[in-house]
């Protein structure tokens, strides 16, 4: 039987959802617990379970805790996902308070068609990841929701967005062009993209002025092959190759290098 073709009443969907949740939490879904969760009588639960069992969604025998059949699990999952998507949309995009979002999701989930739901999920994804919008866009919206807020200066916001997009774009572009400082030969220069490695060495390197965007030129390699000497911010710094390997740089184009 195809789970999607099943027409279920909202109540029945709630039952499936609850059984799944209880099963997940406790390893079994006792009639008493189901009754307590849904605030109905135990007799009511028994009746509903019989009806679900008849539809092949639940395995139910008296005095044994009910379990979901395979089909029942599919339906429950679908209901759960619908709930999650709605709740996330309400809380993360519309920025509705989370309790309110939960309550509304419970009510909305039974009324939304599957195709609409899928669009909603996709839209949410788009909003959160589009370079023009993203989490920033939502934060802007949050700002505008707050009472007595001046209107955000759009120009500045646009500028930031463009910068960010460019940075992301450049990161992607330079990914192929980047190398580590250790790979540069004496006389060659580059611009620092990122200082990797962990712990105090990283901090130390940055403290010495090797911050992103700084130009660095390799002056020479020590006679025994390690450490290297670099010029940075107008002074000479020496570091071991293993340390230089942690510094990602963007090699300067030959034109700049020639200068």
């Amino acid at each position: 039987m195809d789970a999607s073709t099943l027409a279920l009443s909202p109540e029945m969907e709630d039952y499936l959802e609850t059984i799944a949740a209880l099963f997940h939490a406790n390893g079994e879904a006792r009639v008493t617990d189901i009754a307590a969760r849904l605030s109905v009588s135990k007799a009511g639960v028994t009746q509903a379970l019989r009806s679900l069992a008849a539809k092949g969604l639940v395995d139910y025998r008296p005095y044994v805790s009910p379990t979901l059949t395979k089909t029942g699990q599919h339906v429950a999952e679908r209901v759960q996902r619908r709930h999650d998507v709605l709740k996330r949309f309400l809380s993360e995009v519309l920025l509705v308070d989370s309790e309110l979002a939960e309550a509304n999701a419970c009510r909305l989930e039974h009324a939304v068609d599957r195709s609409v739901l899928e669009r909603l999920a996709h839209f949410m994804d788009f909003v959160q990841h589009c370079p023009r919008g993203g989490s920033k866009w939502i934060r802007g919206y949050e700002h505008s929701c707050a009472p007595d807020q001046e209107t955000e200066v759009c120009e500045r916001c646009m500028e930031m967005a463009i910068n960010e997009y460019r940075n992301k774009h450049r990161e992607q572009l330079t990914k192929e062009k980047t190398m580590t400082l250790a790979e540069l030969k004496p006389g060659e220069s580059g611009r620092i993209v990122r200082v990797g490695s962990v712990g105090s060495i990283r901090r130390r390197i940055v403290d010495m002025g090797a911050v992103g965007g700084t130009n660095v030129t390799v002056v020479k390699v020590a006679p025994l092959g390690d450490p290297i000497e670099v010029k940075i911010k107008g002074y000479s710094l020496t570091l071991r190759k293993e340390e230089a390997e942690a510094i990602t740089i963007e090699a300067q184009t030959s034109q700049e290098g020639a200068k």
């Binding site: 060495i201 700084t214 020590a222 000479s236 020496t238 071991r240």
Partner: protein, 729 residues
């Protein structure tokens, strides 16, 4: 820039004393400025618990008494190195009235990075732009007024080694100290994302920050975001809502990681440099293209691919020669002087009166003081050389050249000098470890330096090798002993690094400062300081221990002689023999008596007591006793052996002593004696200096114990294996 009006104070009117903390990057000329400000009124000590030195001094200006604390030279104020921690703790705990940050104006951006961090501590400060002349010569024209405005901090132009700008600086100190309310440097803005998180944290910290306003809640917040261990620890201990605050910190850090894609501490460092860059773009004009400076041209030779190592070795040869070849005659004179002094006192001493006091003065005190002062020429000369190497900028190059090799064996490029000097004398070698910035490197070098066979052990080898080995082997045996020392030093260094001093290898990230001509004054002040510290701190300790060793060798006084020597000597003088023969007989009797006295002394008794322990090494109580004496100074071993074998005053050339040794011991034992002398507990002067330089008894005693155990184990193995295989018995 600050208003330059002078507050009219009548001469002679006393103003309150103010405290100034002097900060700055290494090589910024901070020490030169400190010397220029305070002259000879300096005091050197140690910060508790760390090997960082604390220098203080005083001067007066316009009737104001000004106390200067010279902070350790650092590039930043993180909690990663003890120096940086000390620098900021002084500002936080000792509450100086203001900070004077010395900035190398020819290397502005990196130097301002430290300045910016001091500004964040919220303390009034003055920036002293040192080497302004050099900056101008390099074509940087700095708009000081503009910078001063941007930082909201007075800036004074300085050429410290020429004394230019000194008066202005003193005047500015007085003015800033008297300003009410105290002037506040500008606050750096870290950009919206970080500021949002900072506001959250400062709000959470409200009420937990100290009332004195130092550090400010904002500073604590910045440090928490940076993940600063020391501040996190302090908040955990002191803040009421510590758990909540630290939770918020974690949230903020991960928020920033999500928003800006990097660790908060890196972002913060980035913004600081950004702020400085911005300020410099506004206020600094570079008119000349950066061209090869003088320094670069010198470096073409000194760090040349091929030439650099021979040059380095030659430099080291010079340092060694200067320290020991030039120092030796002085040492000889000092020894002669103290010997003469002892003889003079003996001559003037009323015969037979208070022999114990006589022995204490001549052998204990004069011997002890002589034992302290005798190292002084070496120490002064070595530090003369080291000061020149450091101040000129060559020391950093030496580390650059040698680091690959030294790093392989678990040490730092700069460990080379201490290890080399160790072949001459361990005492100055350990003092030379001060050039190492990292504490772990410093302690490792300090602990293994005694394994470099020092000059004082040479007499022992010189005595033993000819006693047991054929002439053709002399050189080979000597090489072997030195070689064993070096190999052991390397193994021990490796071992220490992988056990006690485990953890991240210290980064080698280091500045290669431009070459500079060292100033005569700077070099001499530094040299003198080392010598004086040695006399004061290590010297007193050495003197104390030498009196203890004297006591061990002298007491108890009542010896049960095997015969009545006085009577025997009297008997000799009554015999009908020539004067020569009589003298010889008496000398023999005296020697036998001395030998018995030593056997009976505490040292002798300890020697007897430990005999079962050292038996497996092939040693008897005589060697044990002589080894105890050798703790005073290694070469004493030879003289002690002379006494226990009743051959009179023996030196390493003594043929009778060699004969005695050959009669009593096998070549294997002879080799074991050398091995044990090489490895075992260095002399007390070494221990005293290690105590002084590591600022802790723990390391000094660890060195003493560790090396003795190592010597024991190795000698044991060599003797037992040698005996089993029948080698050299």
């Amino acid at each position: 820039m600050m208003a330059r009006e002078r507050t009219g104070v009548a001469p002679g009117v006393q103003r309150p004393r103010v405290t100034v903390a002097l900060a700055g990057n290494p090589n910024s000329g901070k020490t030169t400025l400190f010397n220029a400000l305070t002259g000879s009124r300096q005091h050197v000590g140690n910060y508790p618990g760390v090997t960082v030195e604390k220098k203080e001094g005083d001067f007066e200006h316009d009737g104001m008494k000004i106390h200067v604390i010279d902070l350790p030279g650092t590039y930043s104020l993180t909690a990663y190195s003890p120096e940086e921690l000390v620098a900021r703790n002084v500002v936080l705990n000792e509450a100086p009235d203001l900070v004077v940050d010395v900035v190398d104006a020819s290397n502005l951006e990196r130097n301002l990075y430290l300045a910016v961090q001091f500004m964040e501590l919220g303390i009034p400060m003055i920036l002293a732009f040192n080497m302004s002349d050099l900056a101008e010569a390099r074509g940087h024209s700095i708009d000081i007024e503009r910078l001063s405005e941007l930082f909201q901090v007075p800036i004074i132009r300085l050429v410290a080694h020429k004394g230019e700008g000194l008066q202005e600086l003193k005047q500015a100190i007085v003015q800033v100290a008297e300003q009410t309310p105290p002037c506040q440097p500008t606050t750096i803005k870290y950009g919206r994302h970080i500021e949002v998180e900072l506001t959250k944290l400062t709000n959470a910290l409200a009420g937990s920050a100290p009332e004195s306003g130092r550090p400010t809640a904002r500073w604590i917040a910045v440090k928490l975001l940076e993940g600063d261990e020391a501040v996190i620890g302090q908040v955990r201990r002191e803040a009421r809502n510590a758990i909540e605050v630290l939770q918020k910190v974690e949230e903020s850090r991960s928020q920033l990681q999500r928003d800006l894609g990097d660790d908060a501490e890196i972002l913060i460092a980035d913004r600081r440099y950004g702020f400085i860059s911005g300020a410099c773009q506004e206020a600094v004009r570079s008119t000349v293209e950066t061209r090869h400076s003088m320094s670069d041209r010198i470096d073409l030779v000194l760090t040349h691919r091929v030439l650099s190592i021979p040059i380095f070795l030659f430099m080291m040869f010079l340092v060694f020669k200067l320290t020991f070849a030039v120092g030796d005659p002085f040492m000889g004179w000092i020894e002669d002087f103290f010997a003469w002094l002892g003889d003079a006192i003996t001559a003037a001493w009323p015969e037979g009166a208070a022999p114990l006091l006589h022995s204490l003065i001549v052998d204990g005190i004069i011997g002890g003081v002589g034992g302290v002062v005798v190292f002084l020429p070496n120490i002064l000369l070595l530090f003369l050389a080291i000061s020149i190497l450091e101040d000129s900028g060559y020391m950093a190059r030496a580390a650059f050249i040698m680091d690959r090799f030294m790093h392989k064996i678990g040490l730092h490029g700069k460990s080379f000098i201490p290890m080399l000097v160790g072949f001459g004398c361990t005492v100055p070698a350990i003092m030379a470890t001060r050039t190492l910035e990292n504490e772990r490197d410093r302690l490792t070098t300090m602990l293994v330096a005694p394994l470099m066979s020092c000059g004082a052990r040479l007499p022992i080898y010189a005595l033993i090798i000819p006693a047991f080995f054929p002439e053709a082997w002399y050189a080979r045996m000597l090489w072997l002993i030195y070689f064993i020392g070096i190999v052991l030093a390397i193994i021990c260094a490796k071992l220490l690094r992988s056990t006690l001093f485990k953890g991240e290898t210290a980064p080698f990230v280091m500045e290669l400062p431009p070459y500079r001509l060292p100033t005569v004054r700077g070099v001499f002040v530094h040299t003198w300081e080392r010598g004086w510290l040695y006399l004061k701190k290590a010297g007193t300790l050495i003197l104390g221990v030498s009196i203890v060793v004297w006591a061990l060798l002298t007491f108890p006084q009542e010896t049960k002689y095997s015969r009545d020597y006085d009577q025997a000597i009297d008997a000799v003088s009554q015999q009908q023999v020539s004067a020569e023969e009589a003298a010889e007989l008496i000398a023999e009797l005296e020697q036998a008596r001395a030998s018995e006295e030593l056997a009976n002394s505490f040292a002798g008794r300890i020697g007897h007591a430990i005999e079962p322990l050292i038996k497996p090494l092939g040693f008897d109580w005589k060697i044990g006793t002589a080894s105890i004496g050798a703790f005073a100074a290694k070469e004493v071993f030879v003289a002690q052996m002379g006494i226990v074998y009743s051959v009179g005053e023996a030196d390493e050339e003594s043929v009778p002593l060699r004969d005695k040794l050959r009669e009593n011991y096998s070549p294997l034992v002879g080799f074991c004696i050398m091995l044990f002398s090489l490895i075992s507990a260095p002399c007390m002067a070494t221990i005293a200096v290690t105590k002084r330089e590591s600022n802790s008894w723990k390391w000094a005693l660890f060195q003493l114990g560790g090396l003795t155990v190592l010597a024991y184990v190795i000698t044991l193995v060599v003797y037992q294996v040698g005996s089993a295989l029948g080698i050299g018995i």
